[in-house]
């Protein structure tokens, strides 16, 4: 049977040698190499559940009176978008679980990408020849963030409506072209009618297609360049040591897919997420309080909260406050990330190809920069819930803001310095003659 199929295909495509190599391909094994795979499988799960959701969602802000199953909102005027998500949640069988798996999958998707990025950074896996894949990966991260944001804006509930309003104001803050941009993207002054429909097209078509394309390229490059590996054992620059794709690696990877899906199913069934019936429909004069966005938007929200009351006004023109934390900061962040492989090569004068990974401690400077940067963004992220912290500590929120503003500079310095010293002392200890003490013990 197998032979017949192989013969039939090979007669037509001549793909036997290629397929043989595919099945025999070797993949190095390390738990941290699974992070990218988790992200990939989250995307698959997002597409599967998303297709189901898209059959029920109505991207329209036309209004009607809610008469659905959810009692507390009976008689409230809501948009079609909001009503269709309510119906999907309460009336469509398995709709709620699909919706919640979809939302959880988005959160885990972003988390897996970010941790994957961190792993790539600290092990130096972006170095030549993998700079292109580093940049593709960063593009995937931005696309995933945009798609997460457009997705949770669709139900037209009070929380996401507030997020959209802030997004509109951020677009408005861009110098020269800001007003035009905001009006063309939103279709007019906020809250323009077209926006939900546009977000829908972007969310279910434009960005997913881009992600699918870039993911394919991402994996094709891994295939072509072969995966990196940690040094040690028989592993060298000029080889790959691990398990064959068929059957071991394939079975494990499929196991991972089912595992990720299983955990997301448990979360989607048992842990409530984005309960839009509690937020209520979007009303322009209302705002939920306290309001926190999905986690991957936290750093931007925190930056908006921490940036001081400052803006530029000259010659009758102004660059409003939100521009700096919400446009300039992400712009600088991603520019530096895209350039990082080249910057590092320039500063270290290391232009050689690398297939063996670094241990973080062996590159104290890079590792220190990494932890410092991470702690800066962590403070921004934490600041996105400064109102909750202030409430909990019973102190004025201004004080919490000042504390975070100081931490945003102090913590990166401290973690960076600490990391550097720890890395240095770890490598120093290793450099000492191995097991000096046991040896003296033996001779005595």
């Amino acid at each position: 049977m197998v032979r017949k199929v192989v013969t039939w295909v090979d007669d037509r495509l001549g793909a036997s040698r290629f397929t043989r190599d595919v099945l025999a391909k070797v993949f190095p094994d390390h738990w941290s190499f699974l992070l990218g795979e988790i992200a990939l499988y989250c995307f698959v799960i997002l597409v599967l559940t998303g297709v189901f959701l898209s059959f029920f969602f109505e991207p329209s802000v036309a209004e009607s009176v809610y008469r659905g199953e959810y009692e507390p909102l009976q008689g409230v005027v809501v948009s079609d978008a909001y009503r269709s998500v309510m119906d999907l949640s309460f009336e469509v069988r398995a709709g709620m679980v699909m919706r919640q798996i979809h939302h959880w999958a988005a959160l885990v998707f972003l988390a897996a990408i970010v941790v994957h990025l961190v792993r790539i950074f600290f092990t130096g896996a972006y170095r030549r020849p993998r700079e292109i894949n580093w940049m593709i990966g960063l593009t995937l991260l931005t696309l995933a963030m945009f798609n997460g944001f457009t997705g949770y804006s669709l139900p037209d509930d009070l929380l996401s409506g507030t997020g959209l309003r802030i997004a509109y104001s951020i677009a408005l803050s861009i110098p020269v072209i800001g007003t035009w941009m905001a009006f063309l993207v939103f279709g007019g002054e906020f809250p323009a009618e077209q926006i939900i429909n546009r977000l829908f097209v972007i969310h279910i078509f434009i960005i997913p297609v881009l992600i699918a394309g870039l993911l394919t390229a991402h994996m094709a490059l891994i295939w072509r360049q072969k995966h990196t590996q940690f040094p040690g054992g028989r592993r060298r620059e000029e080889n790959v040591v691990g398990e064959r794709l068929w059957p071991t690696y394939a079975a494990k990877s499929m196991g991972l897919f089912f595992g990720v899906f299983g955990i997301l199913a448990l979360l989607g069934g048992l842990v409530q997420i984005n309960p839009i019936w509690l937020y209520g429909p979007f009303k322009p004069a209302q705002v939920p309080s306290p309001a926190q966005p999905d986690w991957y938007m936290g750093w931007l929200e925190g930056a908006l909260r921490l940036f001081p009351a400052w803006e530029i006004t000259t010659f009758g023109y102004e660059i409003p406050n939100p521009f700096f934390p919400a446009v300039l900061l992400p712009g600088i962040t991603f520019t530096l990330l895209y350039l990082w492989p080249f910057l590092e090569a320039f500063f270290t004068s290391d232009h050689k190809p690398h297939h063996l990974l670094d241990r973080p401690r062996d590159r104290p400077m890079r590792t220190a920069l990494g932890t410092a940067t991470l702690s800066f963004y962590f403070i921004l992220f934490a600041a996105a819930s400064n109102d909750l912290l202030a409430k909990w500590l019973r102190v004025p929120v201004e004080n919490v803001v000042v504390a975070y503003q100081i931490l945003a500079f102090a913590l990166p310095l401290a973690t960076g310095l600490g990391t550097y010293l720890i890395a240095k002392s770890l490598t120093k200890r290793e450099a000492e003659p191995p097991g000096a003490a046991p040896e003296t013990a033996r001779t005595s």
Binding site: Q100, T179, F258, A265, G268, G269, A285, V287, A309
Partner: protein, 279 residues
């Protein structure tokens, strides 16, 4: 099969999956229940996962395999051929500068023309950011459309209002406040009516509704990024990231005793933008 114990474990995992899938179908047919669906789907998928991973780990593994990797690119001589092949074709195009200029011109013109439909995406900003729906004499109405009498507001009372017939107009939303007697009424005299003052409800930071009035401090508070505006100081920002005061709406009372606006806001409301100073 090396050890029967491992085989049994793997089979059990797949068995759990089969049972859970059956259960899932039953729950669905019975009308569905979110928690059970999640639990059973999780177990159905998790069973396969555990089974596969155990199988791969214990029974498939052939140990480490070493595969060679091309460290240096091996096709260095072919690079020259690529460059030559390209240049060979490009030469023909480059030689005919006259034609290639026309081609570039045609493509450029087409590209520019193709940009025009972007304009269809929405109306231009024109003057819309400089005006709201308030006009001289427009009554203040509540969200349900009913007009407001000055007596409705007790000291320290606040109300969200819209221009009459424009209760959906997001950028016209306004907060009317009655300050307690003894407070200095902020703003020009002709802006207040019978002790009422009104400020735009749109935060000058990023446009959230400034929803909370703190009676103790007479501050309006924006829950989005915690900007606070001091009403006694004509709503100038006292903390948080907002940089500009909330614009004040001039109020009056019409001859039927309802509160009206005597004109539009004197300046643009809401978050800043590039040419805000133009108005």
């Amino acid at each position: 099969m090396k050890t029967p114990a491992q085989t049994k474990g793997i089979a059990a995992a797949f068995g759990v999956s089969v049972l859970s899938s059956i259960g899932l179908a039953v729950v669905y047919v019975q009308g569905g229940q979110t928690q059970l669906e999640g639990l059973l789907l999780g177990l159905a998928l998790g069973g396969i996962s555990v089974g596969l991973v155990m199988w791969a780990k214990h029974l498939m593994s052939e140990g480490e395999v070493v595969e060679a990797r091309e460290v240096v690119p091996l096709q260095t001589d072919e690079r020259e051929e690529v460059a030559e092949a390209y240049e060979h074709g490009a030469e023909e195009i480059g030689r005919r500068t006259f034609l290639s200029k026309w081609l570039a011109g045609a493509l450029g013109a087409l590209g520019l023309a193709a940009l025009f439909p972007i304009r269809s995406l929405g109306v231009g900003p024109e003057d819309s950011l400089f005006h709201t729906a308030w006009r001289p004499g427009t009554r203040l109405v509540k969200a349900d459309g009913r007009p407001v009498r000055p007596s409705e507001l007790p000291p320290n009372g606040v109300l969200t209002v819209f221009p009459e017939n424009h209760t959906h107009d997001a950028d016209s939303q306004t907060m009317v406040i009655r300050l307690p007697t003894g407070d200095q009424i902020p703003g020009p005299d002709e802006f207040s009516a019978e002790g009422l003052v009104a400020f735009s409800k749109i935060c000058t930071h990023a446009g959230c509704p400034v929803g909370l009035y703190q009676t103790q401090t007479r501050q309006l508070f924006c829950p989005c990024h915690q900007s606070a505006f001091d009403v006694l100081e004509h709503a100038k920002p006292v903390s948080g990231p907002a940089t500009r005061p909330l614009p004040q709406l001039p109020l009056g009372v019409d001859n039927e005793g309802f509160v009206i606006a005597t004109s539009d806001y004197p300046e643009p409301v809401g978050p800043g933008f590039w040419d805000r100073g133009r108005g």
